[in-house]
């Protein structure tokens, strides 16, 4: 009789799986982690003493060597020392131990490695509107190190795969002894194990968010800036998806990170707890923009060439909320020109953007070039020649200088 009780139908498996999944996804698992509960688990000059963590650190030494020698590294000394100072401000007790590398990857991301070196993607510097926002992301990465997430995740994985393997073996043995087949249960347990690993990873991310928001509040930045970062990212992904006729990803059981919406909501609640009433916060936007100024054209150029006009347009408009300038107008024109959709009248829009760009004193030489070319196309030869000679004055050794000289006669 009992053999029959153990029999699993496809329906009961689905129901069971659904219940297990729902239990993992909702309830206590997604409760917000409060910033005041986040205390650093490492002190200054931390060195591992456990054998598994020592192994991890040993492996990472070679990884860091690889990153330090990478040809994607941006080595502008002003920017790298600025990033070092910033992680020194929001790095908690390990502030002096961190290393930080800037890589030319046009994507919103930053990564903390278990031995305390962080990699910041150039796409992050493009998206941050001020120092407080950048400090928030870097503080989140510091949080991973301070809360020892890498080794805790590893131990969680090791424990769960151990338990699963033993369980699967015992199920096989027990099943064989009792003469029943338990393979379906083993598969369900495997799905459960995998889901629980992803859930653990999302918990670590939530911890890093809570730790990060606490760190920037302690350093005197407005804690609300972190949720603003997520608000911007959600807007960007939405705009990108809409243009491509797709839906924005809203999070699933197989995600390593909590959904952007959940993070934004939790960070907002955290900030409300930490914000000092009546305090005036400085976001240090001027200092930030002055530092990244020299590479900002490159950052915009890399973004525009990703061929993601929805996201690029959103990003430029977001940055322009702090004021339009020649550089942003020029790259707005580039988005339309490269998209080149007849239905959206992109050519005319691009021409307008270039015309608007050259009004600003900081318009790049290429803005004058494209402005001139579009004037030529419109038959406004005299104005075109003026614009193109301005381009030549600004960039006398441009690769197309001979052609421009010939054109303007």
């Amino acid at each position: 009789m009992c053999a029959r009780c153990l029999e699993l139908t496809r329906r009961s498996l689905l129901v069971g799986g659904g219940v297990a999944a729902a239990a993992l996804h909702t309830g206590i698992a997604d409760a917000r982690i409060r910033p005041q509960d986040m205390v650093p688990l490492v002190g200054p000059g931390f060195k591992p003493t456990d054998v598994d963590e020592q192994g991890l650190w040993h492996d990472m030494a070679r990884v860091e060597e690889e990153i330090a020698d990478s040809n994607l590294l941006i080595q502008d000394p002003k920017i790298t020392s600025y990033l070092r100072d910033l992680i020194g401000t929001v790095g908690g007790p390990a502030a002096k131990d961190f290393r930080i590398y800037l890589m030319r990857i046009p994507d919103f991301n930053a990564v903390m490695f278990p031995t305390g070196f962080a990699v910041v993607f150039s796409g992050l510097l493009l998206r941050m509107r001020n120092e407080a926002q950048l400090a928030g992301v870097i503080a989140h990465e510091s949080g991973h190190f301070l809360r020892r997430h890498e080794i805790r995740s590893w131990r969680d994985q090791r424990r769960k795969t151990d338990l699963f393997s033993i369980g699967a073996m015992l199920a096989g043995l027990g099943g064989a002894g009792a003469g029943v087949y338990l393979g379906d249960y083993v598969q369900l347990a495997q799905l459960g194990t995998i889901l629980s690993l992803f859930k653990y990873s999302r918990e670590m991310e939530a911890e890093a968010d809570a730790m990060g928001v606490k760190l920037i509040a302690q350093a005197g930045y407005d804690p609300m800036e972190m949720s603003t970062v997520w608000q911007q990212l959600i807007g960007e992904e939405q705009a990108s998806a809409v243009y491509r006729g797709k839906h924005r990803h809203h999070g699933s059981l197989f995600d390593t990170h909590p959904s952007d919406d959940a993070r934004m909501a939790d960070l907002k609640a955290d900030a409300l707890e930490l914000k000092v009433p009546g305090k005036l916060y400085n976001d240090y936007r001027d200092r930030y923009l002055a530092t990244i100024g020299p590479i900002r054209p490159m950052l915009l150029d890399d973004q525009v060439k990703l061929n993601d006009p929805g996201a690029s347009e959103y990003l430029i408009e977001t940055l322009a909320q702090d004021g339009w300038n020649g550089l942003l107008r020029f790259y707005e024109g580039e988005v339309w020109r490269l998209r080149n959709r007849l239905a959206f009248n992109d050519e005319a829009r691009a021409a307008q953007s270039y015309a608007a760009a050259v009004v600003y004193p900081d318009a790049p030489a290429d803005a004058w070039r494209w402005h001139g070319i579009f004037l030529l196309k419109q038959g406004r030869t005299a104005e075109a020649k003026a614009a193109l000679s301005k381009y030549l004055t600004m960039k006398p050794d441009a690769p197309d200088a001979p052609w421009v000289r010939q054109t303007i006669g």
Partner: protein, 258 residues
Amino acid sequence: MRKLGLTAALAATVALGACVQTKQYADVQFTPPEGDYKLLVLRPDVTVGSLTTGGMVEPRAEWTDEARANIIAALRAQQAGRGGNVTIIEHRNELPGVPEQELADVERLNFVVDESIVDAKYLGNYLPTKRGRGLDWTLGADAVKLGQQSGYDYALFLHAEDQVASGGRVALGLLGFAGCFIGFCAPNIGGAEQLDYASLVDLKTGKVVWFNVVDAASQVPGIKFGDLRTPQGAAQMVERLLGRMKPGQDVGRRQAIR
């Protein structure tokens, strides 16, 4: 047999329980270096870990250091036997006359070329245009430049990884073996595995002249096929990987005619 890829060969050995596989390829004109040659070994990549009960590999710092030291000692002894003059560098700034970035570039290039060799020669994605042409890959001008700057004849790239079955893994295997008596037989859950590969680059031509892979895997935890943590195990690995370097097919044919 030549067409049997590494994975296919490995799969075929599962039933046997365990096996040591090695398969080398060489440029058709390759003659194994002998006599007075200068060999540069670039940052040998060695990791030794513990295979957990659940089948994950946990890296171990102490074991890795032991294995690396043993491999380097065995490599020096083996090359000295052939008359070679060997330099082993651990960090990119240890090679006089060669900027760190350039060395990093050569290493990165070599890595992707090695990946391509493994894909085409071992994993069954054969390239029809390279049929019958031995090992036909090159690192090009960058490697020639490295040779000119450093004065070495050959560069050797070496990778070795070893996983040692933990007590828990062995116990799980024993449990699986015990199950054979009641009808649930699973002793072959996978145990220790050593995977090594090496590529030899001729720094005069830039060509990858020789490539070899050694896979020593045991499906049954508890059975070992060499342990890099011991000097004997490391010497055995160097012998399997580098000790039986064969000449390229054209050279081999000429030698046979003579």
